[in-house]
Symmetry: D2
Subunit: 408 residues, 4 copies
Amino acid sequence: MTLDLEAIYIDLHRHPELSFQETRTAGVIAAKLQELGIEFEEGVGKTGIAALLRNGDGPTIWLRADMDALPVPEQTGLEYASTARGTDPNGNDVPVMHACGHDMHVTALLGALERLVATKDEWSGTVVAVFQPAEEYGAGSQAMIADGVLERFPKPDIVLGQHVTPLPAGTIGVRSGTQMAASDGLTVTLFGRGGHGSRPHSTIDPIVMAAATVMRLQTVVSREVDPRDVAVVTVGSIHAGLKNNIIPAEAKLELSLRYPDDAARERVLAKVERIVRAEAQASGAEEPPTIVTDHTLPPTINDVDATAQLTAAFDAAFGGGTVIDPGMFTGSEDVSWFARDSGAPLVFWFWGGVDPQKYADAVAAGTVERDIPTNHSPFFAPVLQPTLNNGIDALVVAAREFLGTPAA
Amino acid sequence: MTLDLEAIYIDLHRHPELSFQETRTAGVIAAKLQELGIEFEEGVGKTGIAALLRNGDGPTIWLRADMDALPVPEQTGLEYASTARGTDPNGNDVPVMHACGHDMHVTALLGALERLVATKDEWSGTVVAVFQPAEEYGAGSQAMIADGVLERFPKPDIVLGQHVTPLPAGTIGVRSGTQMAASDGLTVTLFGRGGHGSRPHSTIDPIVMAAATVMRLQTVVSREVDPRDVAVVTVGSIHAGLKNNIIPAEAKLELSLRYPDDAARERVLAKVERIVRAEAQASGAEEPPTIVTDHTLPPTINDVDATAQLTAAFDAAFGGGTVIDPGMFTGSEDVSWFARDSGAPLVFWFWGGVDPQKYADAVAAGTVERDIPTNHSPFFAPVLQPTLNNGIDALVVAAREFLGTPAA
Amino acid sequence: MTLDLEAIYIDLHRHPELSFQETRTAGVIAAKLQELGIEFEEGVGKTGIAALLRNGDGPTIWLRADMDALPVPEQTGLEYASTARGTDPNGNDVPVMHACGHDMHVTALLGALERLVATKDEWSGTVVAVFQPAEEYGAGSQAMIADGVLERFPKPDIVLGQHVTPLPAGTIGVRSGTQMAASDGLTVTLFGRGGHGSRPHSTIDPIVMAAATVMRLQTVVSREVDPRDVAVVTVGSIHAGLKNNIIPAEAKLELSLRYPDDAARERVLAKVERIVRAEAQASGAEEPPTIVTDHTLPPTINDVDATAQLTAAFDAAFGGGTVIDPGMFTGSEDVSWFARDSGAPLVFWFWGGVDPQKYADAVAAGTVERDIPTNHSPFFAPVLQPTLNNGIDALVVAAREFLGTPAA
Amino acid sequence: MTLDLEAIYIDLHRHPELSFQETRTAGVIAAKLQELGIEFEEGVGKTGIAALLRNGDGPTIWLRADMDALPVPEQTGLEYASTARGTDPNGNDVPVMHACGHDMHVTALLGALERLVATKDEWSGTVVAVFQPAEEYGAGSQAMIADGVLERFPKPDIVLGQHVTPLPAGTIGVRSGTQMAASDGLTVTLFGRGGHGSRPHSTIDPIVMAAATVMRLQTVVSREVDPRDVAVVTVGSIHAGLKNNIIPAEAKLELSLRYPDDAARERVLAKVERIVRAEAQASGAEEPPTIVTDHTLPPTINDVDATAQLTAAFDAAFGGGTVIDPGMFTGSEDVSWFARDSGAPLVFWFWGGVDPQKYADAVAAGTVERDIPTNHSPFFAPVLQPTLNNGIDALVVAAREFLGTPAA
């Protein structure tokens, strides 16, 4: 029994699926779990899978990988680049790409399970492997929890997870405390009055309303947040109108907000709402805008003690200097819910996926931002190796650190 | 032989079709022409129809009606409101509505042909009825010309056409000289750099670039055009991004521009281009924007003598005060090409489609802009009668004015 | 007795005075009126002068010239360019320039009076010459009326006035009906909260509030006024802050608005107010902005019959083609009040002050806007001759047209 | 000999002076130094004073206080509030206020000198007291250095300074490494074309250009700087135009920029320049803007070892918990130059000036930003006591920590 992990990765990369549509991906995972002889349940939280590997007494650790891809048109030029398309929640036909590396997460977790199976005599305890859907909608972990994953499987003594990131391959980034930001996803709908493109005065132009709103939203971060605090207000999508000579009746904005904690969340949300409402009034809107929260992600907070323990284990396994403190990331995660709802500690770390020489060259040239594509970019692609093996190694070291040793 | 014109109108209204997709509409027209015993050719300029009614010696007049509908979600609440959908040139599935009254134009022309057939002993000459597609893309008349309509049919001595408009039913609006504005439709694509919504600094945000561009484009009209001149710069559609937490790589704007003449066109286009390019530079764009002209419409200029003659004929037929000078409209038309390319004079007039009492009430209340929906609005709907009969009457009066009388 | 009119003009040009500060100018006028033997009163409406020339029976005509200059730094390069400074109503020390040609208006009226005195046997009636202050604040004519000028002097049968303008010398522009726009001058004060430039989050930045307001005000004209109507929303001054590292507590904007009539005024003012208030709300202002109307000017409406009569007289005197219809001007005037409050008709015309060859060259090159400086520009300067003589001729022809002829 | 320090503070607060105009302030200082019997030189760096207190062998420490006030209209309501006015570098008459607490700095340093004089038998070494002008222009320390202060006085072994700040009285804030941001002050002049307010099309409106520039500059911080990095782009003043109906020819912006280090400075400056230039191009400016650097301040970097030593001394003197790490401040200072140019270490700390109960109440209510006025606010005012005594204590403890002890 040996999984061809590189082939699995390439297959998953070629066939990315949007959130809560990861049925083919789930099928691949299920087939491999079967090969490994690990019991599992499918359809946990719509398209999720939870697997159970019991091996005597000892702690229960959860290893979590997310599965979904993104509506991004792949431009990596890879031989195995995606040309897939999907249907997004608005019913639009969109390109789909593993632009956030979840294919790597799934493959590395399968690889780690294979190793844990092969070394059962060296550890004892229980491993729950969580293949989570819909991380990108911030909805998958809650869906699995709502579907009873915490009751149907042994409760975690610790939750462990990892994310591939544009650090040099061979580096692990992790910090105690707040590792990733809290986040909200909002949909804002602005209501104007439609009409003929040549008669703006008979309309209330929602595109001008939207443009003014986008410009004003910049001032939340530039003027209203302490320059020493972290906050992001991104308008990630704007859609209005179907034809140049028709002024549409409404405009839709999708916002992604980031902050370190709930107090900041409340402050920033209030500012965003104030601006959205006032800009509609400035346009003379006859109907106030609607602001809908599509998802809310808590900050990802690493347990202080467990992080220290794991950092030492990584350093011991991979050599000093492997682990860096990458600072708080402004990205967000829904992995926390497994830990929050079970009361278990969490450690969530990043591992590098960039060719180290390329990374070093970009640092030297001062062109990291331009030359090293980040997650969600159409150019994002970890180098297959050593990234995959590093990810497996990290998971196994982490699992073993928190599992027990067999009674002699 | 009597056409049920109201039923035709309702049928067309229920089944609107986008530009160059008017196949069902063309089928209805063809069937009715056959009923009337008028010879015609289908597929002239893709989906257009040209019909020929010879009746002895005399002038050749062209009567033109446009056929296409618009991507607008009908909200009229009419029993016969459209629920149709279509596929727009970008491949999007969109709602379709006769939001510009072309269903009324087609029906009125069929009605006028029926009357002309019935009264052949009262006039002599040749009538060419032009059912033109794709007026809304500013492309249909040129497509018919490119397809040889001016060679395949007798050349016009005069081109006549009409448009239903939110004036009170019973009113005709027409003026000598420039009746409708020149126009261009532009597609502007702005290029940024995509990335993660939480890492704006690693991207070049095309949504902020687009918003700044929209705000700046307002200054063309507010600051750079003589306040006494007519100009419109409308951004009718804006599209960027697929998800709140992904900053997309580009944004697309569709612009509709209006001006009285070609000199103004050149000036305004230069200003728009200057702003679009500079705003991309302000964003640090690494690739300059592209600006594509989708269509160019000339001003619609009514022949001075023919307009005077027709105005007198309308007044004689319908009573003094029927005809008003509505001023230049900022809307645009591609009917001119038939006249320009054949050297014939043009008269293009507007007829009212609003219940006169409702119109008078709105005038009294000062709420015309708010309460009387204009063309392209989701609420636009002429009252079926007397609008339809008025349109037929106007076409017949105009045709007879410029046709000959039979030799005694 | 012969006035050296060119010397008077040059002297006035060298010594411009701001509104209601025209004391030196009034002194020059008084001295010349004395030389001409015309009775007059000084200090009418603070710094105005009204002069009375009785010459038997007949109509009473008012000839009006305004006297004040502007806070503009002269850049004409003329040998007699102004280097004067003055104190504006805000207490600021500012450069002062006759950038609107009122020095030419005063000199031409003195020249016309000299001629009327010299030709008393050719006409009969009464001439009231009104040297009005503070036209640029829209306050001078009302100040003279409040000071009793309509009671202290014979009431007008007609009010006549003229303005030098960037038309070619030799051309007169005048039209029946609305000749100049109505206007309001507003001062808007925006209230934020001051603080340290490095701590924007502890402030409410009034400069960002002001910038957003200025950008949004552009949409009144670009989106909310019928493109065929005339409207101007100019922010002519913006002031906030004293030092780069202090965020100030407030910002001040001065607006100049233009429209053809009172209905449009009401609509535009409501839009401006809506935007100003909403943009303050978008900033989270704790105190609403104040909007103060500094002056209100009615439209300048020329009497239809009198304008026709005068146009014929000009054509007879200067040759056909001298008089053109310049269209409605977006500039505004307070001369109307003399006519409105007395019930007399008004004719107010423009006369050209640009070297005809230079003007023709600019027309040919399409560079009129760039090369022909307009009123209020730092480069504005009528050519001394023939402008001055043309202005005198026009006034005399107009006066004689409406005065009586002596009984034989 | 006892200085009445509270009276000195009140006197200085009542009589604030702008940068490089601190002549009355210098006079007060000189008089008090004379009372204390300390030798000093006046006019060092225009209006600065350096004083020398030798007391046997031992290290040389520099104690620095800045002297200047700001163009802010005091609104504290204090009995001793300033009503002073001054003339700023642009020649404007402006209100003047000690809105940054430099009056407290001067008074505390005089108080510390008095104590050091009184306790000469307890320490040995040399104290140089530097009363520095023009900190607010970022120019005073360089002016003193250019005037030879480092040669004319004993070179420092350490430079010490302090700043009063809106922390609760009794708290001292200091950190190792970067304590305050680097900063640049820029003046941006935008060139348009002036003209009549009613004829915007004949002008290039510099106020719209300025407004668009201000809005776009917000995106430097909101989009182009890593959300985890500190950066501030403040437009602290905007001035254009003298009258509502004249569109001016130019607009002036004053910017204050903040960053942690020189690499960030270079990046932010490039972005600001890119935006300023592009926005002028978007306006069609015929002359590019000018961008002048008025001052450049380095980051204020506290020596690691000396800061640790001083923190321990403060804790020993005032009790544990007195010293907090306030984080990096986004404010900036020119005190560094004395340390940089002499090669000496620097420690610069903050001491609290807010009534502790009031501060605690604001924290509890979550209204610190609103209720606790910051430096440069018109409402800024430290409570006189215990702030003054705390400042003296801190200076004396710091001085004694780095001076020597007398040979037994």
